[in-house]
Point group: C2
């Protein structure tokens, strides 16, 4: 075969990067579990009609067919790859509602796929790490305040720049627009969502053109979107715009609770940012986005919100709230800026040098003794000159090389960074704690 | 929407099962890392021409297309979901050979997909956990002896029945068939591979019919396939069949090394079983299968082998050896027999009872103090009667409920299994070690 080349949109990390990713995922997972979220995985595929319930995303779905199937076949049970983890989770909850305990908290760390055009340079496969809570009929609002605190803890456990979670509430926007007299709040929201891309003047023009706004109404919408505070003072700024509406009041009250929880438990983490809209249709209240400081222009790396109606079937209704870390997106950014490093590119802490091929069984026994005590160990691949065996370790960043003693001499271990070499017994020797496993840190 | 139903072939575990799966994967991963295997993930898709290089598997591939694409389009760059992790790994090695250190050891734990007909009741999506070692040009044989020892260690760390790894070597079979005078050893191997399905008489008839064997040659092939020993005594049994061939000698010598390593490091783990063939085309020497004791009739739950030519491009050649645990297959079997259990269905160890909704901030502070010391904690969802809050914990198997003290009284913690309730301080209290995280064990 000819030498293969990368596929646009399908990132693959080299081993050292994958080790960083795995370390990051482990820390995120540990935080999620500290809050009592149980792990869940759903299948990669959903029936196409499930995935297309939200018309807006239909462009981005990969459809599957078995190779031996008629290529033209488009039956009702066509399957597509999931494009997020929230839609499959809602389906799972409905399907298994009789077997779950509510409120049900789960985390889910899986790949998702979007059938983007390759030329756009976007990810078509990426890893997400989600938490969600759903309850039967009604979900208390305090879970909306919990989401960003969990994420704040998870991010604080990572060697990454400080994160800011931007929060808004769709009830604030919808209530404000309705209070202004605008009849199609969804259209207004979709237009305001383009602020960062096309700027306020074009948004104002579009509001007049497509959402039936007057110039004054458009200007008010832009004033609302410009409000951004690190505490509950956004309420006064909204009130100063002179719009009154019950839904607006409800939204403001909810948003204050989220921002106040941030002030209490994680000062500096949360900002009310009233232009945040989120593209997906299913959010009905609180919405979240997250910026990494220094990487603001690359957009959100952790988003989510409250959805009242996503998991609904007949008389059963399971409102939920959730948030999703874009792991691939975040790591792609940080890798692209060489912002993360790892102390070695393999788990191995010790290479046992091989004096001669016939001594391999003895070297394997040394390795097994170290492994039994939790020390990752390899035996050298071949009985090359010791200089070459040391380079084997060096190239991978492995800190220690073990030399079996000849003729009854004691074994020795060499720290190849310092050159220090000391006697050692495989039954008792251990590396310094910081060398036991690879350490991920800011570059 | 109507209530969703399961999709045949796409298993989904309930939370307690998923917790068991995750625990099992963690232990497997820890063993792989102790041996110095570095983590790797490859994208879910490969170009279709890559996946179809081995004609036999073409029936089982899922092909992707973007929803908005012309359904009839079958361009050269069609993508399919990978059906194993070895073919993508070989492609990754060729693509990144300039950036990797050889010999390259990696593990890879990912889902794979096979476009089976739904009615066969087979898994169409399942989780595999693979290790492989590849080297440039030549890979020393000692890696073939290492594979089953790593798997033996991994399985020994799990609460599952004892495993037996069955080993054969294709050189033994091919050399024996050629020594017998049979010209199409691949066809003979494919036929002998049907032994367990159709029995020896039909295999003998097929050998005569499709592989040009005489009755005596067919009988000799069946005698070879019947050999099964827990030590190197299989060599004498093969020799007694009176066939001589250089490739046979080479294969026997290799197979002895694998079996002897088992005898030395893991007595009882490895058997030479000369009927093992493995369906996939790319194996060229050692082949492995694995049975769980008591579940032999369900077939192999861990398989692999040596492949000399899978990762080859122009002048570059990376022979490899690898083995793959069928995690979903193994857990599906054990779940089906209720053979595994977990001490609770959530990570949570403590529920903080909520005396009144306005005390939530105080309860959140207790929870945070426990979490900071690694104790998974939830606050009760609502200020219901304490009996209901205790049932919330009971239903999930959470062992402890924390009661905030009223009016300056000290807090108390109740073990809801024993009913014991004692004073406790969130800054110092810790559960017994066995209650800190959920424990997976044999049912």
């Amino acid at each position: 075969m000819s030498k293969p080349t990368p596929l646009s949109g399908f990132p693959e990390w080299l081993p050292a990067q994958r080790m960083i990713e795995q370390n990051v995922v482990e820390r995120i997972r540990a935080t999620f579990e500290l809050y009592g979220y149980a792990p869940l995985e759903t299948r990669a595929v959903e029936p196409l009609d499930q995935l297309l319930r939200k018309g807006e995303t239909s462009k981005e779905v990969y459809v599957l067919r078995r190779l031996q199937e008629d290529p033209g076949a488009r039956t009702d049970d066509s399957l597509g790859l999931h494009f997020d983890l929230t839609v499959p989770f809602a389906r799972f909850v409905l399907e298994n509602s009789g077997k779950l305990q509510f409120p049900f908290r789960r985390y889910q760390i899986q790949k998702v796929w979007r059938g983007e055009r390759p030329q756009e340079g976007r990810y078509r496969e990426f890893l997400q790490a989600d938490i969600d809570v759903v309850d039967r009929d009604n979900l208390p609002f305090h879970y909306d305040t919990e989401m960003p605190l969990v994420i704040g803890d998870a991010f604080a456990s990572l060697p990454i720049p400080k994160a800011t979670i931007l929060v808004n509430n769709r009830k604030v926007c919808e209530g404000f627009y309705r209070g202004l007299g605008l009849e199609d709040p969804d259209q207004v929201l979709r237009t305001v969502d383009k602020l960062d891309k096309i700027g306020p003047e074009k948004v104002a023009a579009l509001l007049v053109e497509t959402a039936g706004a007057t110039d004054a109404q458009a200007a008010a919408c832009l004033k609302l979107a410009a409000i951004s505070t690190g505490d509950a003072s956004f309420v006064d700024q909204v009130r100063a715009l002179g719009v009154t509406n019950d839904l607006l009041d409800e939204g403001l009250e909810e948003l204050v609770r989220v921002v106040d929880a941030g002030t209490e438990y994680a000062p500096g983490l949360i900002r009310a940012e009233l232009k945040i809209a989120r593209g997906l249709d299913y959010y009905t209240g609180t919405v979240y986005e997250t910026q990494l400081q220094g990487y603001e222009r690359f957009g959100s790396i952790c988003s989510g919100g409250r959805y009242e109606n996503l998991a609904t079937s007949g008389n059963e209704r399971f409102p939920g709230v959730g948030i999703s870390i874009g792991v691939s997106r975040m790591l792609g950014l940080l890798f692209g800026h060489n912002a993360l490093t790892i102390s070695r590119s393999v788990p191995t802490g010790v290479v046992v040098a091989l004096p001669a091929e016939e001594l391999r069984p003895a070297c394997d026994r040394i390795a097994q003794a170290l492994r039994r005590r939790g020390i990752s160990t390899e035996v050298a691949p071949a009985a090359a000159k010791f200089g070459k065996q040391i380079r084997f370790a060096e190239r991978r960043g492995i800190p220690f090389v073990w030399f079996p003693g000849a003729d009854g001499e004691p074994d020795t271990i060499k720290d190849i960074r310092s050159g220090d070499q000391v006697e050692a017994d495989a039954a008792t020797w251990a590396p310094p704690a910081e060398d036991l496993i690879p350490v991920v840190s800011k570059a």
